[in-house]
Symmetry: C2
Subunit: 253 residues, 2 copies
């Protein structure tokens, strides 16, 4: 049966990864692309609530939005497609989305938003090889397998798969989330009128993780598929606080 697929990303509708993905997924049915009209990297789960959004129709299957990936998923499902697609594929992102760093990703947030609306969703990212090239071919291959699997084996609402594809991968691994954190540097510059401005740069990156993690998988040349959901409750800390309850509460209400 022909399916309805929705593509979004955070690199903008002009990104190379979007065109490749559209081509790769068309065998499944109708592929719609609703993506930001400009780069929206690191916008995370941002929703545009303070200003209106505009839709630029490119053709029946392509729409550029003046907002974030989360905005795109809302406008696609509520206005443009007028129904839920069978699956949302967010990407192909240019650059890894692994470890805690995943939280900043607009690409991953786009997939999560779809999943929160009850739509199957994956995020897919390619990692630069030593020759500064991306392996889109492997990314398409894994995306197609996962899409086929999910269309017949749906995941629970609120969960997504985040896929990271290194250059010329040796194989595939189901992984846990490792650690990748930025301690960003802030660069001070001077504008032509002599006023200071600041850029947040990448800074120091800390990457570590056990064998079973996304971090280790891509480091050793494997495609990483990580199951994610939005439960950021910390059970261990809950136990600790319950023990200290009396001490914490003693000066309150």
């Amino acid at each position: 049966m022909k399916k309805k697929l929705l593509i979004t990303n955070d690199d903008s509708i002009f990104a190379e990864g979007i065109k490749i993905l559209e081509h790769g997924l068309k065998e499944f049915g109708s592929v719609y692309t609703v993506a930001p009209d400009r780069e929206k990297s690191a916008v995370s789960f941002g929703i545009t609530t303070n200003s209106p959004l505009r839709i630029s129709k490119v053709d029946e299957f392509h729409y550029a939005i003046t907002g974030t990936p989360v905005d795109c998923v809302y406008l696609a499902t509520k206005v443009l497609l007028k129904e839920k697609p069978d699956i949302v594929v967010s990407g192909i992102n240019h650059g890894a989305n692994i470890g805690e760093d995943t939280i900043y990703s607009g690409t991953v947030a786009g997939a999560f938003q779809a999943s929160l609306l009850g739509i199957q969703a994956i995020a897919i990212s390619v990692i630069e090889g030593k020759t500064h090239k991306y392996d889109f071919e492997s990314a398409i291959k894994v995306s197609k397998s996962i899409v086929k699997f999910l269309l017949y084996n749906p995941l629970p609402e609120g969960t997504i798969l985040s896929i990271n594809v290194p250059f010329e991968p040796k194989g595939v691994k189901i992984t846990k989330l490792g650690h990748k954190r930025y301690d960003a540097e802030v660069i001070e510059k001077m504008d032509p009128r002599g006023n200071k401005y600041y850029w947040i740069g990448p800074g120091k990156i800390t990457v570590f993780g056990e064998d079973s993690t996304d971090v280790k998988a891509v480091e050793s040349g494997y495609i990483s598929i990580t199951p994610l959901s939005l439960n950021f409750f910390n059970d261990k800390l809950f136990g600790y606080l319950k023990e200290k309850e009396n001490e914490i509460f003693k000066e309150m209400v």
Copy 2:
């Protein structure tokens, strides 16, 4: 000993909650406020990477930033204070941050960013009472108790406490994260030139959770203190995918 405290929020430097918080926390030491120069609700973990940031100095202790709460934490720690403060208090947010909905919050993201940089951090939000009033007095009371506790009992890196204060609370509860999700509506409008534009509105809100959750605590009139961290890996789904590995992998690399 005099401590160094940093306040940020996502409601902007002009928000009522910031002024009240500054006043309430000054007994601990020097209180610096570095906050967005305009409302940045629902910007989540967004980082401004595509454009420069400007800092407007109001006075020695107050700075307005042209960015997100995460940007504010970076500029405060790397440029303005030139060292890590002892604690970051993000808020007082006007409106609840409970359930999955917490992920969209700029206020909570500001606290998380501090924690990822190794700084003790809390997010604090007040919930509108029936008379459309906020109980800032109770919010200050609980903030002060928690700040005092954390300064002598630090939490692990990457963890925060998210505090929600209903109007005239009956007491305090350490809670788990419940469920609060938006299924936003998209409202179509027409501009003065006859072109369509769209607003993302709040839409349908689903709220539920067991007795031990933030959702239930604030519903029944209690202050909720929820320990959070950024581990959004889904272990159950990992087990399921490992079982299905052969089926998923068979058409890949």
